[in-house]
Every structure is written in structure tokens, then in C-alpha cells.
């Protein structure tokens, strides 16, 4: 059995690399985008707020799987313009759009929890809007939203397995291929173990971050 494991492990690990790439780039892009979208949604400029509300509604109201399929198979077949993505780019595009919407909603809650007094305190000191957001609001919001963000981060690791639908070679797909080729469930058990390890690392990292932010109340 150990021999079999060592035989399939390289392909599982290269699948893990794809999973981590989708995970990492989605997180790096959609966290800051989520902040911007939530600020835009609270904007006094109503058309912007409406457009972003519509965007969030669509992204949260339809399955991520459907969005992936639409981006990869649907966009190239639009009637007037054709947007063709590589598989990997299509996956990232769909994941970033989807996760930005969820993060935006989480951040909206976080921004709402910052009292008006903090904004006024900054205003009378002469700080402008972006200085206030950057130095006063976001650092406090991060602490507030960390537990909810943590949930989404762990979801994202597992959601990344959806990329199999557009033929991207991630961890789950690697396990699936080995499993049907060799007619054994062992690869899928290994896949489960690797996902567990990945989420365990994330859980630790999030715990560490929460501890880091517990320096004030």
C-alpha cells in the first residue's frame, strides 16, 4: 500500500499546487476588492451602489459552479462579443468575482460596526476620507470580520475543487483520475487527508491572526 501511495503522491501533490494557486490568488485579489466593493456599495453616488448591489445579488444568488461554467463555456459564445479565457484564467476570474461579493458583504457588516464617532474624531483632526479609511477604519474592521473571513477562507479551499468542471487539474481531479484508473478509493482518502491538512494550516493561521488582533478591545 505504501508503494502505491508513493506512486500516486506526485500527481496528487501537483494537483495540490493547482488548488493552492487558485486559493492564493483568489484570496489576494478578492480581499482588497471586497473592501472596495463594500465602500462603493455604501457610496452616496446611488448608481454605483445599485450596480454593486446587483452584482452581489447575482454572485451570491447563483451557484459558483454555474458561474465557472458560464465564464469558461458561455462567455466565448456570446452573440456580439467573445471573451475567451484559458482554463486557469477562467477559474480565477470566476472565483475572484464570486469571493469578492461574499467578502464585500462581510466587510459591509464590519464597516457598519465602526461608530460614527470614529469618523468624526478623524474628521476634526483633519484626516481626509482615504486616510480615515486606511488608518482608522480598516484596521478595526479587520479585527471585527476576521472570524467570518476565516469561514470563507476555509470554504474557498474546498470550493476550489469545483474547477474540475472546466477540466483544470486540481487536487480532487488528480485523486479522481487515480481512483477510476486503479479502481480503488485510496486516492480519494488521500485527497481528503490533504484537504484536512490544508484547512488545518488555515485554521492555525487564522487563530494566530485573531490572537495578534486581540491586543486591544
Amino acid at each position: 500500500m505504501l508503494h502505491y501511495i508513493s506512486e500516486i503522491l506526485p500527481s496528487l501533490l501537483s494537483g495540490t499546487v493547482m488548488t493552492l494557486k487558485v486559493f492564493f490568488w483568489t484570496l489576494v485579489a478578492s480581499l482588497p476588492l471586497g473592501i472596495l466593493v463594500s465602500l462603493g456599495r455604501n457610496s452616496k453616488f446611488k448608481p454605483l451602489s445599485w450596480i454593486l448591489s446587483f452584482y452581489i445579488w447575482v454572485m451570491r444568488g447563483t451557484p459558483l459552479l454555474l458561474q465557472l461554467i458560464f465564464v469558461f463555456y458561455g462567455l466565448p459564445n456570446m452573440p456580439f462579443f467573445h471573451i475567451v479565457f484559458e482554463r486557469y484564467d477562467a477559474a480565477l476570474f470566476a472565483f475572484i468575482l464570486n469571493y469578492t461579493a461574499y467578502f464585500a458583504e462581510i466587510f459591509r457588516g464590519g464597516f457598519g460596526a465602526i461608530g460614527k464617532g470614529q469618523f468624526e474624531g478623524a474628521q476634526v483632526l483633519g484626516l481626509n476620507y482615504w486616510q480615515t479609511i486606511r488608518k482608522i477604519v480598516v484596521p478595526q474592521v479587520v479585527k471585527i470580520v476576521l472570524p467570518s473571513i476565516g469561514n470563507e477562507v476555509i470554504n474557498l479551499i474546498k470550493d476550489s475543487s469545483l474547477v474540475y468542471v472546466i477540466g483544470l487539474g486540481d487536487l480532487l481531479r488528480a485523486g479522481n483520475i487515480a481512483s477510476s484508473r486503479d479502481v480503488t478509493l485510496l486516492p480519494l482518502v488521500l485527497v481528503g487527508v490533504i484537504y484536512l491538512l490544508l484547512t488545518l494550516v488555515c485554521t492555525w493561521a487564522l487563530k494566530y491572526l485573531e490572537k495578534h488582533y486581540s491586543y486591544y478591545r
Partner: protein
């Protein structure tokens, strides 16, 4: 000298300030007293530029100015809020130096040196590295004062400086405000406590709710 001429302000059709005029001399302490709902805080917020007035003029040293428009580097009015509005994620020192470095573009060193002096003057030196949640109410208030003074305002406004504190601290606050007077700053104090007002003020303004 700060002059207000015919200031009028209403919220949703209810007039809060009606044609109010007043003058605060340099280095004086003006107390604004009156029951809740009389418009004291609205008046203070208008002077601080947090609320916009409907009509009337603000004149500082014979020059008209609009507190709500004052450009960032010309902040001439500091505010000590009723519940202080300190930044909870920053230390006392960072609370005081943030605006001078970001708005007045002071170097970190310069801002820290100034802040040290202010903290010493307000007996906060030993708390410089603490966070607001570790401080008592009176200490928080003094941090709020230090933070406002670090921007070198001409006028310092207080919203109900005694109400969030233990009653036994009332005299300490009065001494603090009278002590700051010696530094040459003009102070405007909104309070519902007439005894406190009498104790500290050179000028007293009583506001009453407007009868409909």
C-alpha cells in the same frame, strides 16, 4: 476672536438654532449651558465643522471662514468629544501623533517630541504605550485633549466634559481647563451643569429650546 453672526440651523423642519450670534474673546473660556435639546451640541458641532449651518457667518480674527470647508491643514478648531472617540487600536502615543504626521506632515520624530511634551503636561507620560481600553475615563479625556492640542488649534471645544466621568472628577476637569487657559488657547465648553460652567467660564451663553 471668534464671532458667530445670525447662525440658523434646523433639522427636518425643526429650528434648533435661531439667529444666534456670539463672540468669544481670545484666550477666554466660553460656556454654553442649557437643558438637553436646546441646541448646545448642535452649536458646538457647527463650530467644529461637523454640521453645516443653514445660514449665518463665522468670523475668526476678522476673517470669515466656513468650519465645514476649512482646508485640512488649517484646522483651527479642536474637539474633545463627550465619549472621547479615541482610536481603540492605537496606543496613546499613536493617537496623539497620527494626525500631526498625516495632516501637518510633521516628521515622526517631531510629532513624537511634541506628543511627549503634551503627555507630560497632562500627566500621561507613563501611559504613552497603553491602549485606550486600559485607561480610566479621566485619562481617556486627557488623551483626547492631548490629541486635539497636538494639532495646535486656536480654539478647543468640549462637549459635556463632565458627563462621562465620575462626579468626583468634576473639579479636576475644571482645574485642567483653567490650566490650559494659561497656554493661551481659547476654549468653548458645552455643559448642562451650571455650577461647573460658573466655575470655569469668562463668558456664559445660555441656550433655551425654541418654543414652536
Amino acid at each position: 476672536m471668534l464671532k458667530l453672526e445670525n447662525i440658523t440651523k434646523s433639522f427636518n423642519g425643526t429650528t434648533i438654532l435661531n439667529n444666534l450670534s456670539l463672540e468669544v474673546k481670545d484666550n477666554a473660556i466660553l460656556s454654553i449651558v442649557g437643558p438637553s435639546g436646546a441646541g448646545k451640541t448642535t452649536l458646538l458641532r457647527s463650530i467644529a465643522g461637523l454640521d453645516r449651518v443653514d445660514s449665518g457667518k463665522f468670523i475668526l480674527d476678522d476673517k470669515p471662514f466656513d468650519p465645514a470647508e476649512a482646508s485640512d491643514t488649517e484646522r483651527i478648531i479642536g474637539v474633545v468629544f463627550q465619549d472621547f472617540n479615541l482610536f481603540p487600536h492605537l496606543t496613546v502615543m499613536e493617537n496623539v501623533t497620527l494626525a500631526p504626521t498625516m495632516v501637518l506632515k510633521q516628521s515622526k520624530q517631531q510629532a513624537t517630541d511634541n506628543a511627549k511634551k503634551l503627555l507630560e503636561q497632562l500627566e500621561l507620560s507613563s501611559h504613552a504605550d497603553q491602549y485606550p481600553f486600559e485607561l480610566s475615563g479621566g485619562q481617556k479625556q486627557r488623551v483626547a485633549i492631548a490629541r486635539a492640542l497636538a494639532m495646535q488649534p486656536k480654539i478647543l471645544c468640549y462637549d459635556e466634559p463632565t458627563s462621562a466621568l465620575d462626579p468626583s472628577l468634576r473639579d479636576a476637569v475644571a482645574d485642567l481647563i483653567l490650566g490650559l487657559k494659561k497656554t493661551g488657547i481659547t476654549q468653548i465648553v458645552v455643559t448642562h451643569d451650571p455650577d461647573f460652567a460658573k466655575k470655569i467660564s469668562d463668558q456664559l451663553l445660555e441656550v433655551k429650546p425654541i418654543n414652536k
